[in-house]
Subunit: 194 residues, 2 copies
């Protein structure tokens, strides 16, 4: 088990001494999620922040009609959690599912707080991480309000290069915000064009 990937990830925004790296790593647990298994389900309290070492996760929620809406994909080198639930410690609405066999590192809520106390620079790290995420979500709101389904698909392909191949049509449709039927129609149209 090597921690290079996560150390590199963290080092993008803060710098760590050897000791600090060691302490940070001691706060992590490693985990595995087989394809189609869940790390978190609707109604549960989110106890971990997950970091993806390999594979890919998907965070989505079901609306009142049972339709899935994907909020985020987390391929290698991404962080994911149900922030609402993690922050409030209340049951959330998010499902986090493995799209393929996934290796992870897990930071429990308690260890996250410990980390903040011992190494306050991690407050900075997570602040910056959340800021980036917020910028993405704001852009997505604007995209949803101003782009066509076809343009949102392009936008998805740019944000997650190569991911489209690993996903089912339904999953992609649930991210760009259309029905699978319409997505299928759209693909046929796109194929004809080129």
């Amino acid at each position: 088990m090597t921690f290079d990937l996560i150390i590199q990830n963290v080092s993008r925004y803060i710098s760590l001494t050897r000791e600090e790296e060691g302490f940070f790593i001691s706060m992590l647990q490693s985990g595995h999620a087989g394809k189609k298994t869940f790390l978190l389900q609707e109604g549960e309290v989110c106890r971990y922040t997950y970091f993806v070492m390999s594979g890919c996760l998907r965070g989505y929620s079901n609306d009142k009609n049972g339709v899935e809406h994907t909020l985020i994909f987390a391929p290698r080198d991404w962080w994911i959690s149900d922030i609402y639930s993690a922050v409030t410690q209340k049951p959330g609405m998010l499902n986090i599912e493995a799209i393929e066999d996934t290796e992870l590192l897990m930071l429990s809520n308690e260890n996250r707080e410990l980390l903040f106390t011992r190494l306050p620079k991690f407050e900075r790290f997570f602040r910056i991480l959340v800021e980036k995420s917020l910028v993405n979500m704001q852009q997505r709101i604007l995209d949803n309000m101003s782009l066509t389904a076809e343009e949102r698909y392009q936008s998805f392909c740019t944000r997650y290069p190569g991911l489209a191949d690993k996903l089912t049509s339904k999953q992609i449709a649930s991210y760009i915000g259309v029905t699978p039927e319409f997505y299928s129609k759209m693909r046929a149209r796109l194929a004809k064009k080129s």
Copy 2:
């Protein structure tokens, strides 16, 4: 000029000694924005984080067809900035406009960094602030994908109680993501119902 409001606001997530309060306050500038004036315009680099003492601001951006889309309203006791621009120091797409005469406190990017260095607990404060904001934006993405325009209007009324009265139809429409014409039709329908 009293700083009670902002101190109370900050104290929701971190606690400050008298000295720390003093230092924090010394980092702030006060400002004013007359109705319909801009604190920030598309293409500019965002140099401040704003805190609203009274009045109300609106953050929106124009899409490629010149249509306005409102990302956020900031009434009394709210924070607002163009995070994308503030973080990257690149020109942003956000316009921040005063909906009515507005009194503000302004924290410059430089002073924000100073504050982080001198009082690292402010990293925590802004982390939590941004987390809350992220939770809201995620909910809004789900709302946009699963609710009807009418339901999004209800949702807006709940999130910003009493604000509807201060806004033009166009501004509300640009938040819930419909044209002013459709919003007008919708209101007529709602009025008939009750």
